[in-house]
């Protein structure tokens, strides 16, 4: 993690510098150069400065990760607190809190105002704990659910809606297993609003459902709290707390990382989509879905060499292609000559608007808007695909490295730079991917160019690193230092891009060609 700390430190110092001339709008491209020099000269000093004043970057938000035990404790603590205030047992308090969606203050206020009404609405009636719930012994009556006359065991809440125990249990099974309900299951009686309390549930719920039921009870706690969300990673049991509110989502992209390592957006719970705000992500995904047919051909893994037309297959994440037949070097994205890509002529990420003259009629305009979309979609999809291919290559490399450890005399620790490089590639490509969705919705002005410059720098850094991964394994050991440097550089470019974009988002400086909804 050393390299990342270094990166952080650089940007904190940048923050300080930038704050000084906050008013100047066009510091982006130029100051980037300064940052670079600054960084190279004074790396050690930066680290010190960072230790003195740890500063959060503009694209970072405060958050905390909780385990299921933490969540349970939080709940228990709140129940205990409110229980004393309301002078109600924990059992009842828990139901009241769930009924009030864990809004303590409002619940207490309402309860003090009209105790009976609150108890009644929460399905607790007045005398729920005078006689504890019980299953009644077999007797003959027609159960309204199964229409059988019995004799059968039965159960009824205080409302008196009586059903046979078999039906009651089936009903609870359907609610808990089928519909994922737990905190607010109502009496099965037609139109009855009485909520089944926890004691009755404990009595009726069969043992195979108990775990699921308690899990669901806990889930509703998190679901009810605006500042808590479950980590969306499959099988992950952690929850994340973050104070960013829904109304802030056009100004910040609240990205959090769960203890399971999954990075996701707290706003919409999709995977990390920085720097693109949630509403643009939604819009973009919808558009991609609607236009999927038009765009499908792009994701194809093969293209023709622009010089000799022989078929070229892409099997790594790197966009630098060399035709096997004629040795022509070109860019997979724009099909342009590769030699232009490593230089200031690099223009692969930028969409050149055709002059208005070409777009007089509707047909031309619609073709132009499709071309524009494809430009961005192409690059978006390509980074997604490349991230996958980079990962494949890494896995292959990892295997070889294990074999090579003996031969090269390198330890497991010493080959970790490959892991770091791979992780950095994935992360940077994830960011790059979303920069294209973001750019698609940007109105063209001076700031767009700053954004595109940052995008370009990150993209070049990523392609450089990605290219190294494709070197034969026996050369990788010798490239260690270079690879580590390139990894650090990639991370740094990513931080710079995200930081700049986030600042301008926060200050509402970006101009979009659509409304942020």
């Amino acid at each position: 993690m050393d390299s990342e700390d270094e990166v952080n430190s650089v940007v904190s110092s940048v923050d300080v510098g930038m704050d000084d001339d906050d008013s100047s709008v066009d510091f982006g491209a130029d100051s980037d150069v300064e940052i670079d020099d600054h960084y190279q000269d004074d790396a050690a000093f930066e680290t010190q400065e960072k230790d003195l004043m740890p500063k959060k970057k503009a694209f970072e938000v405060d958050y905390r990760v909780y385990s299921p035990e933490d969540i349970q404790k939080q709940q228990d603590k709140q129940v205990a607190e409110v229980s004393t205030l309301l002078e109600q047992p924990h059992e009842i308090t828990a139901i009241l809190l769930r009924f009030g969606r864990w809004n303590k203050e409002r619940l207490i206020e309402k309860y003090m105002d009209n105790q009976e009404e609150v108890l009644d609405k929460a399905g607790l009636g007045q005398d729920v704990y005078k006689s504890p719930p019980r299953i009644d012994p077999p007797r003959i009556f027609t159960c309204d659910i199964c229409c059988e006359d019995g004799p059968h065991e039965s159960f009824a809440l205080k409302c008196g809606h009586r059903f046979c125990v078999t039906c009651y249990r089936q009903y609870l099974f359907q609610k808990i297993r089928g519909e994922g309900e737990a905190a607010r299951i109502k009496c099965p009686g037609d139109g009855c609003n009485r909520v089944i309390d926890t004691k009755s549930l404990d009595l009726l719920v069969t043992s195979d459902l108990t775990d699921r039921y308690h899990e669901l009870l806990m889930r509703t706690y998190v679901d009810d709290k605006e500042n808590l969300k479950w980590c969306p990673a499959p099988n992950c049991v952690y929850a994340v707390e973050c104070g960013v509110k829904k109304r802030d989502l056009n100004k910040v992209v609240p990205t959090v990382q769960c203890d399971c390592h999954h990075s996701f957006c707290f706003g919409c719970t999709l995977a990390d989509h920085q720097p693109c705000p949630c509403s643009l992500v939604r819009r973009w995904l919808k558009k991609c879905e609607d236009d999927s047919e038009t765009a499908n051909w792009i994701s194809a893994n093969t293209k023709e060499c622009p010089r000799c037309h022989s078929t070229i297959e892409k099997n790594g994440g790197c966009n630098h292609m060399t035709c096997r037949k004629c040795r022509h070097e070109f860019c997979w994205m724009c099909m342009g000559v590769w030699s232009e890509h490593g230089t200031s002529w690099y223009n692969c990420n930028r969409y050149e608007e055709k002059s208005g003259l070409d777009a007089r009629d509707a047909q031309a305009r619609s073709r132009q808007s499709l071309e524009r979309y494809l430009h961005y979609y192409n690059r978006y999809a390509n980074h997604e695909q490349s991230a996958r291919l980079d990962k494949d290559i890494y896995h292959k490399t990892e295997k070889k490295m294990t074999l090579l450890q003996g031969a090269s005399g390198m330890s497991w620790i010493e080959v970790q730079y490959l892991e770091e490089a791979s992780r950095s590639l994935q992360q940077c490509r994830q960011t790059l991917k979303w920069t294209y969705a973001f750019a698609y919705y940007l109105a063209r002005n001076n700031m767009t160019e700053i954004f595109e410059d940052n995008q370009k720098d990150l993209e070049m850094a990523v392609e450089n690193l990605s290219e190294m991964f494709e070197k034969p394994t026996d050369q990788l050991a010798a490239l260690k230092v270079e690879m580590m440097d390139k990894t650090t550089y990639c991370n740094r470019r990513r931080v710079i891009l995200l930081d700049d974009t986030a600042k301008r988002l926060k200050d509402e400086q970006w101009e979009f060609n659509v409304e942020l909804s």
Partner: protein
Amino acid sequence: MAAPLPKRIIKETERLQNEPVPGISALPHDDNARYFDVMVEGPGGSCYEGGVFNLELFLPDDYPMTAPKIRFLTRIYHPNIDRLGRICLDVLKNNWSPALQIRTILLSIQALLGAPNPEDPLNEAVAKQWKENQAEAIKTAREWTALYATAKK
């Protein structure tokens, strides 16, 4: 393949036959006692008056723990019924209770014809029209009723 029919379904079917609800009929198929042909008359005084609407109703395996599946077969212009005939009705979704029955559901559907609710729309286009120009919407509903829901003689 078919499990024996639960007593509940047998009883409900009998009752539908023996004590029919006015303006509503539901007949199970001979070869599938869980599949019903349903007919609902448009309520008097509504823009569906005079119309006879056909629906299909199916009782899933876990009925009555889950609601019956039901949809309109006859085309109808209504803010809570979509082009596929699916119905937006609380008792078919969140407010379903196993103590409810086929007959109560059909009554609710008939009531829905008498009281369209554009605030909770399933068919956005119709709901929009209903809110912006109710007279026009009602006219269209009448026309559709005459066009699609009137027995051809």
